[in-house]
């Protein structure tokens, strides 16, 4: 008793042992410590020797209001606590002995868990999709308790909870959305800049060369205001007013006396050099930086593309094609512009500003301070503009992406548009999109044009100050020596000072553009392939063909399971027909056999090996797919057939085409197997495409074959040819076939009937027809349809 008390005083110790770190299952977010107030109440409730197993909260109450609702599970009971305005209230309480049944219902946007503790169903918990996985976990626990009795609670560790393993941000440790792969909180502009600059690292030597050349040009640029000062003070003024007006000593007197022609010629010569040298050095720098920049475009594009090849299909499930393509082209281009142009200009501008300020201060501190006074106005104005511009450009980019998205949507669907006479409507929609682009462009322009006069004003004031303040000092002649030459030099320096400042202000929005582009590009590079291909080491051995689904639950969206707890076994060489209404999950089964996606719960095994352990390539090399609308790449028919086996000989290609019953129509084309297909190529009918795809699959000689509606869109005669081809293909391989026309599945050794993501029946055609269940119903419907078709002919 006393023991128990001490345990409960410290909250962490009040949980049973397996919850402590490093022991038992990782309950992760399922184990949330109770908040202070609730913890106290729960402790009062607990009887002697009663220990907490775990507690967690969901984000909704039974009425559907967003509020935290807690579930507390102890060794003796299960309680739910609701958070109300005046503290926590216990809502439902039952002991494991009372539990008769448990049921989780997945509804749209939310999920409700019911329990029957005698006296009918009662609401236990309700949750949105965000926390529904917790409902799944507790359902599993309660189901186990129901089956094995209350004792099971003592061994919760043995219950497989299948908690989602969520990627965690390496920096802040917060869970991150697996689809995004990036921790948004940890992504900031500074790290983006650093990462962009890191792209330059492989070309260090050239970058250093560029920088050196740039410093040289910058320094040379500063010599001419100085020269004008010297010419004025050492040549012109003495020439007019006599040698006494010149300074007593100067470095330059060794070339000629004050006001002399020799000295003028020396300065003239230096001036000529100053004109020629910067353009030469500038050209060299321009070439080098363009080389580096273009190399980076190539590197980055390759990296993005190869990474996109590694990403699982779920990435493409969530991204629109237009956006993905824009990433490789426009965004990379922007980063290139920034790195090869802007970044160097930025450094040059900063150097220029620093040099000019230093030179001015060195020449005449007081005048310099007066002249530079308007600078803060510029800095403040540009900072204000920066914030505004960022938002506007992000919007602008999204509107441009909308154009691409619209076009890549409408143009491939032109037949549909025309067939439904929707040309006018689409034109209207396009006009609307263009209008929005225009509005956004003009918004950006407005910010630009309001910024420009502010900078103009600042420049004007600076020059005014040089002449007025400088002039006053010249006339007054107090203390510091101000000469005409000095005023000229200051004026010249001011001319050189403002362009870099303005450039810097202009560079900011461009940096913003580059940063948003970089954000998106790095997002692709950073997104970890969901299938974690890097860590896999097992090569899939030659497949014999035994495919097993073990309690598989899977959904494309985490909380909308398409397949629910599905188990089946296909022996090597069997042909399995998958039957069911649309949306029953047939295609999903196939996607999982190919391991395009990772299952949420359970496992898919081939020859007893869990697919999550094997290298993807070694697996997919042994699987062949013939799908409903086979994709042909642009190239010749021969190349398309050989796509599955790059080293296939011409003989093999022809043999495969023959086996696929494609040979005859191929040689009827004027260019035979050399006929070009794809976007710019010949028109190939659906049935022909299908047979080319079958030839592709035959050539691959896969161990597992998948036929996804392979005969859906062809006429009966063509279907016969395809069927014949398929029979050759199927021989000796494990085959999974989906077909709407049940007659297509007559060669199947077994049919699996799916309904709403569950396996409801399985057996041969005859067995299932006798059973009189779902399959028999489907058959009857199709027969009736067929009868109508025959009758109407």
């Amino acid at each position: 008793m006393t023991d128990q008390r001490t345990q409960i005083e410290s909250p962490s110790a009040s949980y049973v042992r397996f919850n402590t770190a490093g022991d038992g299952p990782a309950l992760g977010e399922l184990q949330q410590p109770l908040p202070e107030g609730l913890g106290k109440l729960v402790r009062q409730e607990l009887g002697p020797g009663e220990r907490l197993i775990f507690s967690f909260s969901v984000d909704m109450n039974i009425a559907g209001q967003y509020a935290l609702k807690w579930l507390v599970l102890t060794e003796r009971r299960c309680m739910t606590w609701a958070e109300t305005d005046d503290g926590y209230r216990i809502k439902l309480e039952f002991s494991p002995e009372e539990l008769r049944d448990v049921r989780l219902r997945d509804m749209r946007g939310n999920h409700v868990l019911f329990v029957d503790t005698g006296g009918g169903w009662k609401h236990l918990l309700r949750s949105s999709n965000t926390t529904s996985w917790k409902l799944r976990a507790i359902t599993k626990v309660l189901e186990t308790v129901k089956e094995q009795g209350p004792g099971a609670l003592r061994n919760v560790a043995d219950i497989e909870l299948k908690l989602p393993d969520r990627p965690v941000c390496k920096k802040c440790g917060a869970p991150i959305d697996p689809r995004l792969g990036v921790c948004l909180a940890c992504m900031n502009k500074r790290t983006l800049l650093v990462r962009m600059v890191k792209l330059l690292f492989p070309y260090k030597a050239l970058v250093v060369l560029c920088l050196a050349l740039m410093v040289a040009v910058t320094l040379l640029g500063l010599v001419s205001p100085l020269l004008s000062k010297w010419i004025m003070d050492l040549v012109f003024v003495p020439a007019i007013k006599g040698a006494s007006a010149a300074p007593q000593t100067s470095f330059w007197y060794r070339f000629g006396g004050a006001g002399s022609r020799d000295l003028l010629l020396v300065f003239g010569g230096i001036m000529l050099l100053m004109v020629v040298a910067p353009s030469l050095i500038g050209a060299l720098r321009g070439y080098t930086s363009a080389w580096v920049g273009n190399r980076i475009v190539v590197d980055l594009s390759n990296r993005v593309f190869s990474h996109m090849m590694r990403l699982s299909l779920s990435f493409y499930h969530h991204e629109e094609t237009g956006q993905v393509m824009s990433r490789i082209t426009r965004d990379v281009q922007r980063i290139h512009m920034f790195l090869s142009n802007r970044l160097f200009n930025l450094i040059r501008d900063v150097l220029m500003i620093v040099f000019i300020v230093a030179l001015m201060l060195q020449m005449h501190t007081k005048l310099a301070l007066i002249v530079l006074a308007p600078i803060p106005i510029l800095v403040v104005a540009s900072e204000v503009a920066r914030r505004k511009i960022h938002r506007i450009y992000h919007m602008l980019w999204r509107r441009y992406a909308a154009i691409n998205r619209f076009l890549s949507d409408v143009i491939p669907g032109m037949r549909v548009v025309k067939a439904f006479a929707q040309g006018r409507r689409e034109t209207g929609r396009f006009g609307g999109i263009m209008d929005r682009v225009f509005t956004q462009e003009m918004k950006a322009t407005r910010v630009h044009v309001t910024l420009q006069p502010i900078f103009g004003l600042a420049t004007g004031i600076g020059q005014l100050l040089v002449f007025v303040a400088g002039g006053l000092m010249l006339i007054g002649g107090q203390g510091e020596v101000v000469t005409i030459g000095l005023i000229m030099a200051f004026n010249g320096l001011m001319y050189r000072f403002y362009p870099p400042v303005m450039d810097l202000a202009r560079a900011l929005p461009e940096f913003e553009r580059a940063a948003t582009s970089a954000d998106r590009v790095f997002e692709v590079i950073d997104s970890e392939p969901e299938l974690q291909t890097g860590e896999r080491t097992i090569e899939m051995p030659p497949i014999r063909g035994r495919v097993e689904f073990r309690n598989v639950t899977f959904g494309y969206e985490p909380d909308e399971p398409i397949l629910k707890d599905m188990s089946f076994l296909a022996e090597a060489g069997e042909m399995i027909g998958l039957v069911g209404h649309s949306g029953a999950g047939k295609t999903t089964v196939i996607n999982l056999i190919c391991h395009f996606y990772k299952v949420n719960e359970g496992a898919v095994l081939i020859d007893g090996i869990d697919l999550t352990e094997v290298k993807l390539e070694s697996l997919r090399q042994q699987i062949g797919i013939v799908s409903q609308e086979p994709f042909l790449f642009s190239g010749t028919i021969a190349e398309n057939i050989a796509y599955s086996k790059a080293d296939a000989t011409s003989m093999e290609v022809v043999a495969a085409a023959k086996a696929a019953n494609a040979h005859d129509f191929i040689v009827d084309f004027p260019e035979g197997y050399d006929t070009l297909v794809g976007e710019r190529g010949a028109r190939i009918s659906g049935g022909e495409r299908q047979r080319i795809a079958i030839a592709r699959a035959i050539l691959k000689n896969p161990r597992i074959l998948i036929l996804d509606e392979a005969t859906a869109s062809v006429d009966t005669e063509t279907e016969e040819k395809i069927q014949e081809a398929l029979r050759r293909l199927i021989a000796g391989r494990t085959t999974f076939a989906i077909a709407h026309r049940l007659s297509t599945l007559k060669y199947a050794s077994r049919l699996l009937v799916l309904k709403e993501g569950r396996l409801v029946e399985s057996g041969t055609h005859d067995e299932l027809t006798k059973l009189g269940g779902v399959y028999a119903g489907l058959c009857e419907k199709q027969n009736r349809l067929a009868a109508i078709a025959t009758w109407s002919e």
């Binding site: 014999r544 063909g545 035994r546 022996e571 090597a572 060489g573 020859d607 007893g608 010749t636 021969a638 011409s650 003989m651 093999e652 022809v654 043999a655 495969a656 023959k658 086996a659 191929i666 040689v667 004027p670 260019e671 035979g672 197997y673 050399d674 070009l676 710019r680 035959i698 050539l699 000689n701 161990r703 050759r728 021989a731 000796g732 391989r733």
Partner: protein, 181 residues
């Protein structure tokens, strides 16, 4: 458990059909071919006996002329395949090639004189191994790069022309083709 399963299952590999059985490749040493003008070829072989009215059709007319030739009878039914015309005896080879040249005519372009755009129609002035020719294409995309320097052109009427290797053309022709494909 799964191991036992495998052992009970005889190698599944053997059950799949042999792909190459789909092809009937004719023995070149067994073939004797001669032309019968206007009526295709006459083929004599121990395997097939004597067949007349045989037509020849290349599988890869653009990329592998002279290889993988299909022999078809008058009804278009396939008799078999000649894998490589060069393996036939000289007389037979000449007969097949002459027949092929008639049945599947694709001249070779040996020089490109000029390429111009007349009202958006690309017009090529070329010398072929069959004489001078003016080609009018439907669109610029009709110049197909088949890889390995091979270029295949189809004109608006559907006639095919071949440049087997662009790098073997004279520099002026190369320049013209490259800036127009």
């Amino acid at each position: 458990m799964s191991e036992d399963q495998h052992d009970n299952n005889p190698s599944a590999e053997a059950q799949t059909f042999n792909l190459m059985e789909m092809l009937r490749v004719l023995d070149p040493r067994d073939l004797e071919v001669e032309r019968s003008v206007g009526e295709g070829l006459v083929v004599r072989s121990a395997e097939l006996g004597q067949l007349s009215g045989v037509f020849v059709e290349p599988c890869f007319p653009v990329t592998e002329r002279g290889m993988h030739l299909l022999l078809k009878d008058a009804d278009g039914a396939e008799i078999g395949m000649i894998e490589d015309v060069h393996k036939l005896d000289k007389a037979s080879r000449n007969a097949v090639e002459a027949e092929l040249n008639e049945q599947h005519f694709i001249p070779t372009i040996i020089r490109v004189r000029d390429i111009s755009d007349e009202l958006h129609i690309p017009v090529w002035q070329v010398d072929t191994d069959h004489g001078e020719r003016r080609l009018e294409l439907k669109r610029r995309h009709d110049v197909h790069n088949m890889g390995g320097g091979r270029i295949y052109i189809r004109d608006a009427a559907g006639n095919g022309y071949l440049i087997p290797d662009i790098s073997k053309l004279d520099p002026a022709s190369q320049q013209l083709v490259q800036s127009n494909s």
